[in-house]
Amino acid sequence: MDRYSRQTLFAPIGKEGQQKLREKHVLMIGAGALGTGNAEALVRAGVGKLTIADRDYVEWSNLQRQQLYSEEDAENRIPKAIAAKTRLSLINSQVEIEAHVLDITPQEMEQLVNNVDLIIDATDNFDTRLMINDIAQKHNIPWIYGACVSSYGISYTIVPGDTPCLNCLLETVPLGGATCDTAGIISPAVQMVVAYQTVEALKILVEDWSSLRRKLVSFDLWVNQQTAIDISKAKKEDCLSCGKNPTYPFLSYENQTKTAILCGRDTVQIRPSVSQTRNLDQLEKMLSGQNGTVEKNPYLLSFTTGEQRLVIFKDGRVLVHGTKDITEAKTLYHRYLG
């Protein structure tokens, strides 16, 4: 079969690299702009298995840059992990794809990293990235940080036991930075980060470690700037994630956020402190008696009332649309769901 012929002709991969790629398992956290770009590239390239975890569903404002989704997905509010899997299976049926509709907690992270060779960061927040960073250090799995906003992007490949980790670099969780919500995002910035992440992923998957970039790269496509800096000296011996005596602080319960404002959306997510499965049929009955509109698919229920909309997932989470205020979101949540 010559499906991968142009890739195996590329000497650093070759037939041997293609076989290695075929045996590898990648975990993708997030299936938004970066997630769909990375996933499509790796699935076309012939990775063995791809596991995708995402907490969100497809909306119209995603279609401008999230390349695996269609108008139909937005119309039907299909969870991103499911819509991505459906599309990816059409692109390459030889790749095993596992989809998880969930908001990652450390417990789930522990299960998902089983037999994983590489983690790709395609999230939109630092809470999850620091969790990825800790689990990667704990299980000795390389991961690739990528992020973008407006026309700017950044990427760095983190190899446990070798490079500095995200906790070394950040020292604190960044707060109040620009988001896709406030500053917008253009697709070339996404595609550029995807290219930086995918090429590093290919190098790792074919085990060409010496070719890794090893620099923190960033760019602004609109103002024509590009920079790559060597940050190997930023590795800290006393780092709690990758230092001599690690405690993996971001895997502990205290460091978990129970509410989150979603990037690029006028939306707050609320996750119950105790994991629970919701009975959507029962909820549909209950909310039908309220002053609003109820719509349901097999994965979630949407309840619109006035300017606001609650989207209730089977796994217990609720997205409150029409607000960025956590308190207001919680009020609505408690008003309708107790």
């Binding site: 997030g30 999230t123 992020a147 950044i154 960044p174 930075g177 700037q225 060597d230 930023a234 990037c263």
Partner: protein, 67 residues
């Protein structure tokens, strides 16, 4: 004073004397950034003591969250 910042020649006021002053000038003082000055990565604690001088070559990389 002229500085090379992220590959571009940039004119900044002479009142700026330190790296943290420069970050403030670009409204990056509350952001999480990595700064390289003349090919040396700077420790976050030293940004307010590190001088910037005419002709310095700086790379400023900001960590962002979107994706």
């Amino acid at each position: 004073m002229k500085l090379h910042i992220n590959g571009d020649m940039v004119e900044v006021p002479d009142t700026i004397t330190t790296v943290s002053g420069l970050l403030e000038h670009f409204e990056l003082n509350n952001k999480v950034v990595m700064v390289e000055r003349n090919e040396d990565i700077l420790d976050k604690e030293t940004l307010s003591e590190t001088k910037v001088e005419d002709g310095d070559k700086l790379e400023i990389v900001q960590f962002v969250g979107g994706g």
